[in-house]
Symmetry: D2
Subunit: 148 residues, 4 copies
């Protein structure tokens, strides 16, 4: 029963990562719908598990003396999610240039996209300065970069 | 790939429900560890998925004109969880009497219990008054009640 | 001591509203800095208290049969906030057209802007459909609309 | 206008600290009421500002090579708070012995207590081990200890 007892980190389909997310009490607000900042948390979970499956969880990143910080966020809210909803957070890399990585993300419910995001993250060194990702990280991400 | 795309609601082993939970950024604080109120959210996810698998998700409860509200909470914190940790929230019913349901819960990491909780919930009607659980709910919970 | 015991809803200076916000444990993450989605919560508090002081808190809005929902969010993160920081959330209306209201917001620390946001909210009726704000709401917001 | 632009850290009345807290969207859930774990966050804000006003904010604590961690939490929920509510978090020290500090806390709304908590915190050193609070910290807390 080991499998059933480990949290899912989602799965890749080609270059796109999908993470299933359940809506709990904590994600909703008094309007009866999901609180808008909860989607921002869901998108972060998607990016974290994308990186985890690519071999770059926080421990690995720390070993490489690097980390990602979010520098810009755009979110379009189209439909509202509700308590108990089963959502899917889809994440892919839209671009990588210098220290910057752009993620294109969306949240689907039953095959319909209810929310989209574009998230820019910057690679920083231990001193907090922007830097190009270390080569080990570039190699780990290579299979998921967009085709040109 | 349908299965991989649905969020896990955990599983029962006899009368105990287990829900795998991953620690993300949102769950930690500046001390580097998991924020103490995050465990309270994890316990709530465990109870929600316990009830979901028992056939009493929020939609069903609303149809029955009832809901649970937390009236008392006791939490003992023993070890600290960290970013990326894979946790297991274990939930069982410790007692049911009148409108009250007591849950005994714990959070394990790698087989070690790091946190325990005792949570009292009260069944209320649409007007917010305490009431005995409707018979459909009692039937749904019967397989998970403690033996006497 | 009544004053000291009421939560501050901030204050207007001309058309700009300022809300003081303290950084607590709950707002930080394991990197030692403020979690990026916490700024999104801070911006929402700023908009809520802007509307409260303009005479349009949630009770008033409900009486008018209307509410605002966030439909688009852009956030630029420039500097990181830390535990115990005293922040100021500045909020003004950048545009109002049809059912849409655009808020321009920023978060300052010690006079320096550390984060900026542009937030589009849509006015909806009780059925969830976009509608022009009711005239009482337009009148309440009139003093804070941008000059042309 | 400096005062109006600084977040309130509340105030002491004799040995009891009071912190005003507003209920925002983020604190509520789909039932229309405040989410139960939000009260746990409110209590933590109360303890943080108690310690801040007593001269022991996180920076001071870090300088002393110490920190507090929550080891046990008991919360009784009596009445439900709602969006826009103005709450007051009252905090006092109930006991101090060895490395442990016990806080007695409650949340009032309009003079009525809606929630009570007893929170045990342990003083730890930089290595995470329980220790007696350093003498500077004991001196800072002395005026707020219970009379015998």
């Amino acid at each position: 029963m080991a499998d059933a007892q480990a949290p899912s980190a989602g799965a890749f389909q080609a270059r796109e990562h999908g993470l299933p997310v359940r809506v709990y009490y904590e994600d909703t607000d008094f309007t009866g719908l999901v609180y808008h900042a909860s989607y921002v948390r869901f998108f972060e979970r998607g990016r974290s598990d994308f990186l985890r499956l690519a071999g770059a969880d926080h421990t690995v990143m720390a070993t490489l003396g690097t980390a990602f910080v979010v520098v810009r966020l755009e979110v379009d809210f189209r439909r509202a999610a509700r308590i108990d909803d089963a959502l899917l957070v889809a994440t892919r890399i839209a671009a990588m240039r210098g220290p910057r990585l752009r993620f294109a993300q969306r949240i689907d419910r039953g095959g319909e996209t209810i929310c989209r995001a574009s998230v820019d993250a910057a690679c920083i060194n231990a001193a907090g300065r922007a830097r190009r990702p270390p080569s080990e990280l570039i190699q780990a991400l290579a299979p998921y970069l967009p085709l040109h």
